[in-house]
Subunit: 291 residues, 2 copies
């Protein structure tokens, strides 16, 4: 399927939260027809009023499923699984489905197994977000400069993967990559989940409210993501438990090594770690600047 | 002493690196006469050429010490201590000295003891910096919105403390506070040193260069300060070893608790920590926004 930037191509979004709403905004601007299914009536009404969807429903409107050229699921993982279990059979042959779920191994295989023959689900992870949720906070600018990862399995077709890549480009992502579910989950355990665990622990470790007055940028930067939606993130952590625990253990070991070096005044080890971290971080900077 | 914003008030800066250079820039703009002592000739020449100092010397020029109404030391801690040991006796009675050193308990008492009767050293910590050093990267904008902490002991006079506060205001800091050396070092161990230890450990824990392509903002934010000057920071860590090790142990304990909760799928504990971190971080946000 080729996405055509015109009103005759219809994208259905299931779940109008921050990400679903931001998809809707971006796609409407590009000229697509956008439908939405969202159980919260106020979110549907808001999106219609704002003109970021053409039609919306709080029920699973079968005509939406039939008319959609592409359906995007922007739901919590367990809600997504339940939804497909109940309604997956309603999709017509040839339908293409994708999602925004932040973990893949534990989700993708299950969803693909539940769908009827001829319905293709191609997983994706838009690496973008905000500290605040809800369609009212949606903003398609969060995609600019960000990474979009397509996560196919052996069940996916070349066409499905290409359609999903094109979606990423249409949404305005800076970089589109392809990863296997296993590689994706390993990467996300280190880059995203571990960093959230660190930020949460750092905020929980110190209880001096007086410190607020002395905070510098480094502390603010490290704890920005300590504002976290506990229902979503506890679910994501457990769905990727094995990879996350492995990354946490690696970090704990490295942190302990630095702590030991400081206690033992082992200046060589301290400096060696600092030189390594400086060199590695410089690499990230260059890539970041060139984007 | 009252700082008068005119060419008749002379500030001497010892050490023209990033911070010394930024002090010079800010004070020149305000109309002060600025002298500098800096052992690197190229830094002195750069500063003279840029017009951010009026006179400069690579030697300890006694006339500078006699003419200065205020002298600011912007040196590595051990260099600062050596400098005062060798040259402290050259300051005339009534001289006021201050500094930019990032740790206090292990430095302030020693310096005060070495100085002749009638010479007052009032410690300060400007909580500002950049990832790059050197007078060529100096920039007085780094002080805007930042915290300036005055760190007196019982040996300081009311006048000395007030002069130092005024210096912070003149430099453009947003908030001037006063802390004891002990409180300062505890605070800095948690807010600054621990966060640098975390960033360094995080960069050292993972070796996948391929990850650069998938990095989101959270990882970039957490590791910005992993670019670190190893000579300076290893010195600062060891000079504040006791307080830093205590903070590192507190963080390790909290991180382990979260790790255990994830391994044991103890969702209640996970969510409780996330709610706590979210509430605490929100407090920092509000304060940050109102500044």
């Amino acid at each position: 399927m080729k996405l055509n930037k015109n009103a005759e191509t219809t994208v259905l979004i299931v779940g109008l939260g921050l990400l679903g709403g931001s998809y809707a905004r971006a796609l409407k601007k590009k000229g697509y027809t956008v439908y939405a299914i969202e159980k919260k009536n106020s979110s549907v009404e808001y999106a219609l009023r704002e003109g970021i969807i053409d039609r919306g429903s709080t029920r699973v409107e079968e005509s939406f499923l039939r008319e959609a050229d592409l359906t995007v699921f922007a739901l919590y993982p367990h809600v997504f699984l339940d939804w497909i279990r109940e309604n997956g059979a309603l999709f017509p042959k040839g339908a293409i489905l994708t999602d925004v779920t932040g973990v893949k191994k534990s989700v993708v295989g299950q969803i693909q197994q539940m769908l009827p023959e001829g319905v293709e689900y191609i997983a994706a992870h838009p690496m973008a977000g905000r500290e605040v949720g809800g369609v009212e906070n949606s903003d398609d600018k969060i995609f600019h400069g960000a990474n979009f990862i397509v996560v196919p399995t052996e069940k996916n077709t070349h066409e499905g993967v290409e359609t999903c890549k094109e979606l990423g480009r249409e949404l305005g992502f800076a970089r589109i990559s392809v990863l296997s579910p296993e590689k994706h989950d390993e990467m996300i355990a280190f880059l995203s989940q571990l960093t959230h665990c660190i930020a949460v622990s750092l905020m929980c470790a110190g209880d001096d409210r007086g410190l607020v007055d002395y905070t510098g940028d480094s502390f603010r930067d490290l704890t920005r993501i300590a504002r976290i939606q506990e229902d979503l993130w506890s679910e994501l952590f457990l769905l990727n438990k094995e990879a996350l625990v492995e990354q946490m253990e690696k970090f704990e070991k490295t942190f302990s090594a630095l702590s030991r070096a400081i206690r033992e005044e082992d200046v060589d080890t301290m400096k060696e770690m600092m030189r390594l971290s400086t060199a590695r971080r410089a690499l990230f900077d260059r890539k970041g600047e060139s984007k």
